[in-house]
Amino acid sequence: MASLLELLKSELGASVLETHAQYGDETAVIAPEAWLAAARLLRDSPKASMEMLVDLTCVDYPDRNPRFEVVVHLLSLSKGHRLRIKCRVGDEDGDDAKIDSLTELWGSANWSEREAFDMFGVQFVGHPDLRRILMYPEFVGHPLRKDYPANKIQPLVPYREEPGLEKLPPFRADEGMPFGRQSFDRVGEDEQPLVATDQERMR
């Protein structure tokens, strides 16, 4: 079953940075320059014949350089085997994360690449319509990056400024929603509830 990785290594040589195989689950890390060539090889080579791009996503490793890892899962419908290929892009600040788009090879890459762009800010060169797919166009930043503040919100509609609104609705533990965001669950009675107000979150 290691034939796919051997095929990649023999065709691309040093562009295959790493390989990993365990229990028939194979992974290859490809250099960004060879990304499109490797994908085309995997689709067109009769030994691989990966007809289907199952998923394309991205992972943020903030301590690494290059920081992002674009992950693609491929499936061969005719041969019944799978392969995972990865590519590492972007510097420590997350800028200059550029990678070739796979839309010309698999149509299913289109929306997946838009999602990866939306959530992580990876630029897919050659994508026909690279714009946000989940978040709204006014959104600033990329929410699944690890340095995006976990509780930051960017409302489209200004929140109501009603006096006492932060206390509404006053769901306490005895009112059936102890897990709610406005939870008043606390350890000591003198401590303030550990809930950021929405004004704080919007900053």
Binding site: N151, I153, L165, P169, D174, G176, G180, R181, D185
Partner: protein
């Protein structure tokens, strides 16, 4: 001494006994008519919608309470059901629908997500529709049981009758958190945010 028992207006109307006529106030009659003829606009976005269908279906039958007719135009409806999570991207739509409704209008937050955002405490979701539009009744639950929804509707009808526009919450009839023998685990957080 014999006590003079005055029948209530309700008894006079329903049984026809006592005096031959009843007096009331115009506002009371209007409120009575409004609370039993709520035209509802279901703004269903998430899984709570399944429970909403159960409530409107024949077993629990919301029609018994006068809220029978769904109107899929906000201009014809009195009661806005917000059923499910509202994301920031959808908030302008919800606000616009609320503004298109004609007075008098009421808003009902169905489920935890519509009420407080639930566990969707993230970049994408609105922490309760009351951040966007005024809300009359909150129905907690994930999703709420149909009985809780019926409680919420009756609570709203009481509020319509009394003219009270303050927000109200459907309280659970039985709170497992208050009964430690049931073994319900609730997450409590210390000052640093870590569970204790």
């Amino acid at each position: 001494m014999g006590e003079l028992k005055q029948p209530s207006t309700q008894e006079v109307i329903e049984t026809g006994q006592g005096a031959g006529f009843a007096t009331t106030r115009l506002q009371d009659v209007l409120a009575w008519a409004q609370k039993y003829s709520l035209f509802m606009y279901p703004f269903v976005t998430a899984c709570c919608g399944m429970e909403f269908m159960a409530v409107t279906g024949p077993r629990f039958d919301l029609a018994r309470f006068g809220a029978e007719a769904p109107r899929f135009s906000p201009r014809q409806s009195d009661l806005l059901w917000v059923v499910g999570t509202i994301v920031q991207r959808q908030a302008p739509v919800l606000k616009r629908i609320y503004e298109q409704m004609a007075e008098p209008k009421w808003v009902l937050a169905f489920g935890t997500c519509a009420s407080v955002g639930g566990f969707y405490d993230n970049y994408a979701c609105v922490a309760g529709i009351d951040k966007i539009i005024p809300c009359d009744v909150y129905i907690p639950g994930c999703p709420p049981r149909p009985e809780a929804v019926l409680d919420g509707l009756m609570l709203l009808q009481d509020k319509i009758q009394s003219g009270d526009r303050r927000p109200a919450i459907v309280k659970p009839r039985f709170d497992p958190v208050a009964h430690p023998e049931m073994g319900v685990v609730t997450l409590r957080r210390g000052k640093d945010g870590a569970p204790v």
